[in-house]
């Protein structure tokens, strides 16, 4: 009798817990793998394709599936690599390429023939223009991915260094500010 009560009560608890879990899995169902979103949030969203995938999200998906290594995002650099490795629980790996300084695409407008090929190539819609009209780059939205350079039939797109502005200037780490030493003499 005692054993029957134990089996029944434990069985009842298990059943109740099972029902609650079943309902919860329906109610709190998440579409897709949440890991993809987390990795995608770390990536710099340049959509540059330097990782070998057509954009940041496809790379995030590949990493989640275990197809890609964590060290392929060049613009993200070491910081993104470490964060992804931490999320995935794998050993960090050296990023092979040094991240380039921030660049911007610049269209030499007098040479532009208005073919719209660069507009189609831009992953963030940062080039505006119409057929047979000059095109131009919206600087604030250009991620410097260089995807527009190749399709241009007249080679009128240059990648230029993003100009340094005072508002975005920050202190460099101690011991790395040798520039000032020579700067003073020069100015005087």
């Amino acid at each position: 009798m005692g054993i029957l009560a134990a089996i029944l009560s434990l069985g009842g608890v298990a059943l109740a817990a099972g029902i609650v879990l079943a309902i919860a899995s329906r109610v709190f169902h998440v579409e897709g793998d949440p890991m993809v979103g987390k990795i995608d949030a770390i990536l710099p969203q340049t959509q540059c394709g330097q990782c070998g995938y057509p954009g940041c999200k496809p790379y995030a998906e590949a990493v989640t599936r275990g197809e890609a290594d964590v060290n392929h995002c060049v613009p993200g650099g070491e910081r993104a690599m470490l964060a992804i490795a931490d999320l995935m629980g794998v050993e960090p790996k050296q990023v092979e390429e040094e991240p380039a300084p921030p660049m911007l695409a610049f269209i030499r407008e007098d040479e532009c023939i208005g073919c719209t090929l660069c507009i189609k190539a831009c992953p963030v819609d940062a080039i505006i223009g119409a057929p047979k009209q000059y095109h131009t780059v919206i600087e604030d939205h250009c991620t410097g991915c260089t995807l527009c350079v190749e399709p241009c039939p007249v080679n009128c797109i240059d990648m230029v260094l993003k100009p340094e502005v005072l508002e975005e200037w920050t202190w460099s780490a101690p011991g790395t500010h040798k520039k000032i030493e020579t700067g003073n003499k020069h100015a005087a």
Binding site: P44, P174, A187, A188
Partner: protein, 529 residues
Amino acid sequence: MLRKLLEHLKPTTPGTFPGGMYPPEHKITATSPISQCPLPPVLILPLKQHIGETCTPLVDVGDSVLLGQKIAKSQGYVSASIHASSSGKVVKIEEHPIPHPSGMGRPCIFIEPDGKDTPDESLEPMPDYRNTEPSTIRERIRICGIVGLGGAVFPSFIKMVRDQRNPIDTVILNGIECEPYLTNDHRLMLEKSEEILRGMDIIMHAVNAKHGIIAIEDNKLDAVEGIRKALTEMHGIDTCNIEVRVLPTRYPQGSEKQLIYALTGREIPAGRLPLHIGLLCQNVGTANAVHNAVCLGRSLTERIITVSGDAVPQPGNVCARIGTPVPFLFARHGLHDMDDVHVIHGGPMMGERLSKLDVPVVKSTNGLLAMKRDTFYSEQAVEEPCIRCGHCVEVCPSGLVPNELAWHCRNDQFDRGQEYDLFDCIECGCCSYVCPSHIPLVHYFRYAKGQVAKIEKEQEFARISKIRSGARDNRLAREQAERAARRSRAKQQHKAASADKAETAGKSETKPAAKETQNTNENNEEEST
């Protein structure tokens, strides 16, 4: 008995603040009266000299301007207009280096003075300010481009709000001047005590404050004397509510939060302002500027600067126009050869070394210190490992643990740094000063703060890029779907048309032809849409 006990329980003001230290004063210019700097050959006025948005110029090249004329308009709420500091002609508007550790430039308006100093008299003096609406006074202070002259250059009118939820009950005038070398506030208190008190009364009226405190350190007892004397002689001011408080000399007592703690024993919560605890803190220089703006109708076009340092043959305090080139000012004090001289903009503790000397005086310039190269470097030694002596913890006025914090900042662990309250650091420099291992602690904190801001900016950019690329992907998918739908519809129509054609072929010769053209028309229309 009970009363006696209650007396003991009354909160006493601490008179000082936790941490801090006592660096050598070097106030060699304390006895030199303020001299007037002559008109320079050119005045360079940067379009941003305050915390907030950059101004837009109101003048063009070739325009004539008057002394005190507004030449650049403030943009947005947190901003302050720029005024011509002499009459003359606008010769150019272009980028020019400004006093900033980066040595980078900002757009500046260049004025060639005509030497006449013809004033712009559009602003009416309001000597009867006690009977003027507080909002009018606040607006006057805004129009005159007045910012905090203690060094932070925060637009003053913003602090002077009359808020029902946070009524300001006490106005504190900061005459502490705790930085070594600097004596500009000291001299101002001695020479313009009446103007300062008048300015304080204006501020008290504008925010409806009941009490006023003037805080002065005990190394400036002559200034205390001067202010007290002026208080007894002032007319038209209710002087019983104004109190002069003498505090023991200690660095960084002039910092707003530390001063408020020393005076009232109250702490400002992290991320809040003094106004949230019913206080308003202004520098004595700002009070003088407020007096000039309200009682004389003059906008902020000049300020007092301490020109000092061991490379300056004739150090002194000088009243210079904003826009005066720094080399011109040094030449007036006998320093012509700027080779092997390092110039600090501000005080030696919190100021920044200028990497370019061809910069103008701006609203934040309270001191210009020229140091011999040897003095500058004799104190600086190579960074050595932390020996955990804890001196930095003892002196930190914000109650941080600088050695631990620097450890995280050096290793780019900015999240951990923020857990150690990185952003509560006021960059006073006490920890770097006392460190026996010569660790540039404040430099690490400045670096870390900059990196945190940079990372936040990058994340914001990534967020926007993601939205844009997502929108583009959706658009491409939609276009593809539409194209596919169009194609299948066209195919069906074509099929129907050919079936129709086969059916009606035998009956009539003209009809199907017409139908076919109609069909093709429809197709064309759909393609073009």
